[in-house]
């Protein structure tokens, strides 16, 4: 095979895997929330936008390095998610599903339009020297920012796994996901656990936003696109399936990247959507799931 074509293939593949890592991070948050609360969070991308704008605002006002703003964006995201779940969404009571879908849709509109009021519609970016720098590995160009984002994603997902399977809190989260009533009877404060889970989900979205900031322009409705990506990732991996979300993210990144390079760049977003529809129709339990019940 032509070596140039081989390099181009690997270039596209690496690009897809790294972008896919970010999709995985966003999808993991959404999937975690769905897994515990059976809530489809339509504001997920808007939480990502909040992360982006926190990073942007800190850079513009205090000249703080975008990656350092993680220290602000992640806790802020967690706090926001905790409060929203504990004091707003929990009021929906038994009317989860449809009710929560509409409520989070409303939240998303409130967030994006508030950002619009605060920052204007103009796309803005952070100008850091390393934003566009790359290094070359076996002829494949890798963007430093994208690599950092990919590694950050792995770290967060590894941390989440430690939390879920090595700590008491993790046991309580898993118990709440499996059987909220049973967990409550065993002394787990499920309302608190659900708020923590929502907080974690929002924090993941905010972290993804910060990691994307050196690579992308921030604008108030940037989240819309990422809400869709998060849905695609979670459906590919199986709703509520966390390892599935990681693989789903990588698959989406690679599908988009290969499709854009080999078929038509204009339809980049369409390949994921078509894969999403096919999986939704043929294997609603996700590509790798076995037992997730159809809702």
């Amino acid at each position: 095979m032509d070596p140039v074509a081989v390099t181009a293939f690997f270039q596209t593949l690496v690009q897809g895997l790294l972008t896919g890592g970010l999709y995985a991070l966003i999808g993991t948050g959404l999937s975690l929330i769905f897994g515990v609360m059976k809530v489809i969070n339509f504001a997920h991308g808007d939480f990502l936008a909040i992360g982006m704008f926190i990073s942007l605002a800190l850079f513009k006002t205090f000249n703080i390095d975008p990656y350092l703003s993680l220290l602000v964006a992640a806790p802020a995201g967690f706090a926001l998610g905790y409060v929203l779940q504990r004091f707003v969404l929990t009021r929906l009571g038994d009317r989860l599903g449809e009710g929560s879908m509409l409520a989070t849709l409303g939240l998303g509109l409130i967030i994006s339009n508030t950002l619009l009021l605060g920052f204007g519609a103009q796309p803005q970016s952070i100008n850091v020297p390393y934003a566009s720098s790359t290094f070359s590995f076996a002829g494949v160009q890798v963007s430093i920012s994208l690599l950092i984002a990919g590694l950050g994603t792995l770290a967060v997902i590894a941390g989440l796994n430690l939390l879920l399977y090595r700590t008491e809190l993790g046991r309580a989260i898993r118990a709440t996901a499996q059987n909220p009533l049973g967990a409550e009877l065993q002394g787990v404060k499920t309302a608190n656990i659900q708020a923590i889970v929502f907080g974690l989900g929002v924090a993941f979205a905010a972290i993804a936003g910060v990691l994307l900031m050196p690579l992308l322009y921030a604008f108030p409705t940037v989240g819309e696109n990422y809400t869709t990506k998060a849905f695609i990732v979670t459906v590919l991996g199986g709703l509520g399936n966390l390892p599935g979300a990681l693989v789903g993210g990588l698959v989406l990144g690679v599908i988009e990247s290969l499709g854009a390079f080999y078929v038509n760049n204009n339809y980049r977003d369409a390949y994921g959507l078509v894969a999403f529809l096919l999986v939704l129709l043929l294997r609603p339990e996700g590509l790798f799931g076995k037992t997730v019940k159809r809702v």
């Binding site: 489809i40 849709l105 459906v235 939704l280 129709l281 809702v295």
Partner: protein, 334 residues
């Protein structure tokens, strides 16, 4: 799904099905151009969106299938009518531009065909999964419109010169208002007819309890499909009218997710289980949007977000639900 304990409940359908209320609303809309003749643009777009919200409600309210993809159907109506009316874009065998009323009709037929295929594929999915699939379908259609030469790609289309209807100029704001008024009357009429028909009762049964409805011998997929096709036809008709009103449009104004969300939220905020709810919701939201236009400039969807959050938390059956005891007491059953 766990088996719900059998309990007897009051019927959930609300009581705002009477023709008098609809007639009163239409009477108010009829007087609009005589009282507010200076603000016709607001009136036309509000009345068109009221009709769109009611069209949405046939699927979203009566059948309980929350679609967030209706912008695609709106777009089909607008694009079909405009493309067929533009001489340079009409394929030779049509032999020249097609009159807008025929174009609108063809758009409706195309929308029905799309809805049949779309519904046939996605009605196996329930609840939120169905909603997710509608977003995906609409986004794919949007991408096609943005990237295709024949749809004018991202620049969109200009409305060509149109023939007159009974000597009336279609680009005259008053004519457009009466067309919009006719559209809203039609959707209201169709909704009333459906409510009192076998289809209407079957749809409500499917909405409240799909498995229960099946046990009664109702074919839920068939019922949802019929509702989708009627909803699609009316939405496409609204799309054609909207295109005439806009005179120029691009994918961004017709096919984006926020348009779908806007139509759905109008119906849901007004009250999806009543007949006049979507109409009231559309008028209310348009008025609020207009009032806050100067305050919020282009962040006018903020008010939609606040209202939908309040409605889902405190008035699950929408504004109209507040006026009936059942509507206040019961959540939207799912």
């Amino acid at each position: 799904m766990t088996a719900a304990p059998v309990t007897l409940k009051r019927p959930r359908a609300l009581t705002f099905g009477n023709l008098w209320l609809s007639a009163a609303v239409l009477a108010v809309l009829f007087l609009y151009p005589f009282v507010f003749g200076k603000t016709m643009n607001f009136g036309i777009s509000t009345v068109i969106f009221a009709g769109l919200a009611m069209s949405w409600n046939i699927l979203g309210g009566w059948a309980g299938q929350t679609s967030l993809g209706h912008a695609a159907l709106l777009g089909i109506g607008a694009y079909t009518m405009t493309l067929l009316a533009t001489p340079e874009r009409v394929p030779a065998f049509f032999g020249g531009p097609v009159a807008p009323w025929w174009g609108a009709l063809i758009g409706m037929v195309l929308a029905v065909v799309l809805a049949a295929v779309w519904g046939g594929l996605t009605f196996r999915l329930r609840g939120s999964y169905f909603t997710l699939s509608t977003i995906a379908v609409a986004l794919v259609i949007r991408l096609v419109a943005i990237n295709s030469e024949w749809t004018g790609s991202s620049e969109g289309l200009f409305m060509p010169e149109l023939p007159t209807v009974f000597g009336l100029d279609l680009f005259d704001r008053r004519t457009e208002y009466w067309l919009a008024f006719g559209f809203v009357t039609l959707t209201l009429l169709v909704t009333h007819l459906i409510r009192r028909s076998r289809l209407g009762y079957a749809l409500q049964a499917v909405r409240e309890d799909e498995d229960g409805a099946r046990a009664l011998g109702i074919d839920p997929t068939r019922m949802k499909m019929i509702a989708f096709m009627i909803s699609a036809a009316l939405t496409a008709l609204g799309g054609s009218l909207y295109a005439i009103y806009l005179q120029a449009f691009e994918p961004h104004t017709l096919l984006e997710l926020p348009i779908s969300v806007q139509i759905a939220l109008m119906a849901i905020i007004g009250g999806r289980t009543s007949i006049q709810g979507p109409l009231i919701g559309a008028v209310l939201l348009a008025t609020f949007g207009e009032m806050f236009r100067n305050v919020f400039s282009n962040a006018n969807l903020l008010i939609y977000g606040v209202l939908i959050l309040l409605v889902t938390l405190f008035a699950p059956n929408g504004i109209m639900g507040l006026f009936s005891r059942e509507g206040r007491k019961l959540g939207t059953a799912r």
